[in-house]
């Protein structure tokens, strides 16, 4: 690594080198039976060079010739994106936030035993098709740059997902936990899933019209996706974001606070520095509905004349750092989910949606099928909805927040509550 950076430094004005090594395992049970046990061992490195204020990029899985990799990066800098920024000088100790070394030597046989226990418990109580999956692993990363920064981090993850599938569909109910340490699904959660599944045996088609809808924490990502697109600096730079030039404006209901806490160790991505070496920070995107800030990496910070916010993360070694929100949180409100349901006279609660990636996302529009959702009448869930779609625009709908659940549930990279919105267009009968 050091040698490679030296070669790069001799040919470019600046350079950084990001190396990552990962090991992961997964175990799956399909329809109540053990089905698969697979593993992955991967590694790779990416090299960014900045030469004549242009960025060059190269990556490899197997470093055979360091000189060739550097030449590749230098060649790409001839045509590369403008880079008028300085790579940061950051000094932090080796990081182990969210790292449980026990996961490296975790006993799969023991996990399969726990899985079989869960399945036997569920099978004795319901005929539902039940799938169960575990996945776990560790990773280590290192970042070096020509400004003298050397940073390293180790991480671990452990996930478990239980699914009960509605007959004749591919969708169903999901309970999932993801964290840095070993976790499981408890029997109370399974009991809740089973009783909801039983209610879902009753299928209803709701009437077309506007009504209140509770977006369960598992379905909230659909709305956040549209917000994140508007917050992305590429759309600010182009001037096409609906939030362009609107800092300080009340955009959504004052009940809505959306922010990131990179050091929240309950979330698996927790880290003190991003993948280009900038320190991460707490950042409020919306505070009580008022638009405050956007996430920035070095590139966009420089373009927009602002300071980087430590959001330069790479989805893989094949990419330059983007501007990515990390450990996002929607603040909880005051009512529990059962209270929210019991206060609802006529409306829906939706758990999962189909087609969240379609529509004019940047404009805040959505038009989605309900994969898993229930009709609520007089404060009670009475059945699962079928042939039902929701549509609207977040810039109208998030002004009409009725309630937010009093818990933000850790969901791997996010902490989200359920949110009840009024006046959502529902297409049904």
């Amino acid at each position: 690594m050091e040698k490679l950076l030296k070669i790069a430094a001799s040919q470019a004005d600046q350079a950084d080198l990001y190396y990552t090594e990962k090991s992961s395992d997964d175990i799956s049970f399909v329809d109540g039976k053990l089905d698969g046990a697979d593993s992955s061992l991967s590694s790779g490195l990416s090299l960014r060079v900045i030469k004549n204020e242009r960025v060059g990029f190269a990556h490899t899985r197997n470093l055979l010739e360091p000189e060739a990799l550097v030449s590749q990066a230098i060649l790409s800098s001839e045509y590369g994106a403008e880079a008028k920024y300085k790579l940061p000088v950051t000094a932090l100790p080796a990081e182990c936030i969210g790292y449980d070394p026990a996961i490296q030597t975790f006993d799969k046989k023991q996990l399969i035993q726990s899985g079989n226990d869960v399945i036997n418990y569920v099978k004795s109580r319901t005929n539902a098709q039940f799938n169960l999956a575990y996945w776990f692993g560790t990773s280590s990363s290192e970042l070096r740059n020509t400004s003298g920064t050397y940073l390293s981090r180790k991480k671990s993850h452990f996930g478990v997902q239980a699914r009960m599938i509605f007959p004749g569909t591919g969708s169903g109910l999901v309970t999932q936990h993801i964290g840095a340490c070993v976790c499981g699904i408890n029997y109370e959660e399974l009991d809740e899933m089973i009783s909801l599944y039983d209610i879902c045996q009753n299928q209803v088609i709701p009437n077309t019209g506007k009504m209140p809808v509770i977006f369960h924490s598992q379905a909230l990502y659909m709305l956040l996706w549209r917000i994140n697109e508007a917050l992305h600096p590429v759309n600010m730079l182009s001037g096409i974001s609906p939030l362009f030039n609107r800092e300080g404006e009340q955009i959504f209901s004052d009940k809505f606070t959306y922010w990131q806490n990179p050091l929240d160790s309950e979330l698996v991505s927790a880290t003190g520095f991003d993948d280009e070496g900038s320190p991460t920070r707490i950042l409020h995107f919306f505070e009580n509905g008022v638009f405050k800030a956007i996430p920035l990496n070095l590139f966009y910070a420089n373009k927009l004349g602002k300071e980087a916010t430590g959001n330069g993360f790479r989805p893989s070694i094949e990419s330059l750092p983007g501007a990515t929100i990390i450990n996002s949180i929607v603040d909880p409100g005051s009512k529990s989910l059962p209270e929210m349901i019991s206060n609802l006279d006529h409306g829906l609660i939706v758990y999962s949606l189909m087609g969240a990636h379609s529509g004019n996302i940047l404009n805040g529009e959505y038009s989605v099928g309900v994969a898993s959702g229930m009709l609520v009448e007089n404060g009670k869930i009475i059945g699962r909805v079928k042939d039902c779609m929701l549509s609207g625009n977040i810039y109208d709908d998030l002004k009409n927040i009725v309630d937010i659940e009093n818990v933000s549930h850790p969901m791997g990279g996010r902490k989200l509550p359920a949110i009840m919105l009024d006046g959502i267009s529902v297409a049904g009968k």
């Binding site: 399909v30 329809d31 039976k33 053990l34 089905d35 698969g36 046990a37 697979d38 593993s39 992955s40 061992l41 991967s42 590694s43 790779g44 060059g56 990029f57 190269a58 990556h59 490899t60 899985r61 197997n62 590749q72 990066a73 060649l75 790409s76 001839e78 045509y79 590369g80 994106a81 403008e82 799969k108 046989k109 399969i112 079989n116 098709q129 799938n131 599938i165 007959p167 004749g168 569909t169 591919g170 077309t208 590429v234 730079l237 182009s238 001037g239 096409i240 609906p242 094949e318 330059l320 087609g355 990636h357 379609s358 529509g359 004019n360 996302i361 940047l362 404009n363 267009s425 297409a427």
Partner: protein, 371 residues
């Protein structure tokens, strides 16, 4: 490389194994708002090993050759664990032993075109589209992908297949005040760089649609007769029908398996749906799948009745149907799963104008946004 893979797996004592090593070279240019964001050429590589041992299948993917020993150990250990838990034994449907080398045939080879020329071409499209009325952003990506796959299995199959795809895709965004309208476009194929040349008129048509959409009336909720354009038909066929023709999805969802029994009528007499990955002008083209099985054209629906399904060797054996060569991995990082090659609806007897005339009032659906 095949010899190297043979040496790497020589110590394996299992019922069946296969290993795939692949290099993937990607050249890409991305221009957003007239500025270059990405312009690079890179290669990745890696291995995927699968073992069938005591009736259990386990997969390990790995990056570096020195990890091979650990990968083999893990694969056998995973299979032992599965077998110890009495998983339903997996069987392989018989497949021909193939020894073949498939070199790519291209009208114009993108590997012989410089990154600079690719940048110029992408930039020319970007500038052309930017000059159109109401267009405020063009986010355009050119990429070509050269995959060189080496595959061997313990039955004696040894294949080296090259695949090259070339593609130009992007979003054109029109704006009027606070309203923006994006329209996406994509051109490409597996038979050469010429696929992305001379497509200016098609790109301009998309820019016009984006601008026209700014003045579009919102559609009123209701029930309509609709004609779907080919893009929308493609997405609909792929998502709503095609995925349920993939045998691994059907296998894992018993209630869908019942719905998708061969011989079931699901459509009108006029409806014929085919998967054909052997058309070299399409992005989904290949000769052999990632189990070394030659891909064949499959009539999934014939005159409205289910007549075929896409399989890997395991699902074909389990469901007692014929292999089709549809075990496909996205690249060297993944184990293969059953996926469509190139799915389409066979044209029938009416022209678009005739369909329009027969519809009276209704909607004509242009391209989808997302799937």
């Amino acid at each position: 490389m095949i010899d190297y893979l043979e040496k790497m797996t020589a110590s394996l004592k299992v019922d069946y194994y296969d290993i795939r090593y692949e290099t993937k070279h990607v050249e890409q240019v991305r221009i957003n708002k007239r500025e270059i964001r990405v312009c690079d050429a890179n290669t990745g590589d890696g291995y995927v090993l699968r073992v069938l041992h005591k009736g259990a299948l386990a997969t390990v993917n790995f990056t570096r050759p020195e990890q091979a020993e650990a990968a083999i150990r893990k694969a056998v250990e995973n299979a032992e664990i599965l077998a110890g838990n009495k998983v339903k034994p997996k069987q392989l449907a018989p497949a021909p032993v193939v020894v073949d080398t498939v070199k790519v045939k291209l009208a114009e080879d993108p590997r012989h075109i410089s990154l600079g020329e690719k940048k110029e071409l992408t930039n020319a499209y970007s500038e052309l589209l930017f000059a159109q009325p109401r267009i405020v952003n063009v986010d355009i990506t050119y990429d070509d992908v050269y995959r060189n796959k080496y595959y061997l299995n313990s039955e004696g199959t040894r294949i080296n297949e090259e695949l090259v795809t070339t593609r130009l895709s992007g979003a054109i965004i029109a704006q009027d005040g606070a309203l923006t309208q994006p329209v996406r476009f994509a051109f490409g194929g597996s038979d050469g760089f010429q696929r992305v040349r001379n497509r200016e008129q098609e790109a301009l048509n998309k820019a016009k649609i984006a601008a026209d959409l700014l003045k579009a009336e919102p559609v009123r909720a209701g029930t309509y007769k609709m004609i779907l354009n080919p893009g929308m038909t493609g997405v609909f066929t792929h998502e709503a029908f095609g995925h349920f023709s993939e045998a691994d999805i059907v296998r894992d969802l018993p209630s869908i398996r019942e719905k998708m029994k061969l011989g079931t009528r699901l459509g009108l007499d006029e409806l014929n749906i085919i998967d054909d990955a052997t058309m070299s002008n399409q992005l989904g083209y290949y000769r052999y799948d990632d189990e070394g099985v030659p891909v064949r054209r499959v009539n999934l629906m014939t005159n409205g009745v289910l007549t075929g399904r896409l399989h890997d060797r395991f699902t074909a054996a389990e469901m007692g149907e014929s292999i089709s060569g549809h075990s496909i991995a996205e690249d060297f990082r993944y184990a293969p799963i059953v996926r469509m090659g190139c799915i389409f609806i066979q044209p029938d007897r009416y022209s678009l104008d005739e369909l329009m005339a027969s519809m009276e009032d209704g909607l004509y659906i242009g391209d989808p946004m997302g799937g």
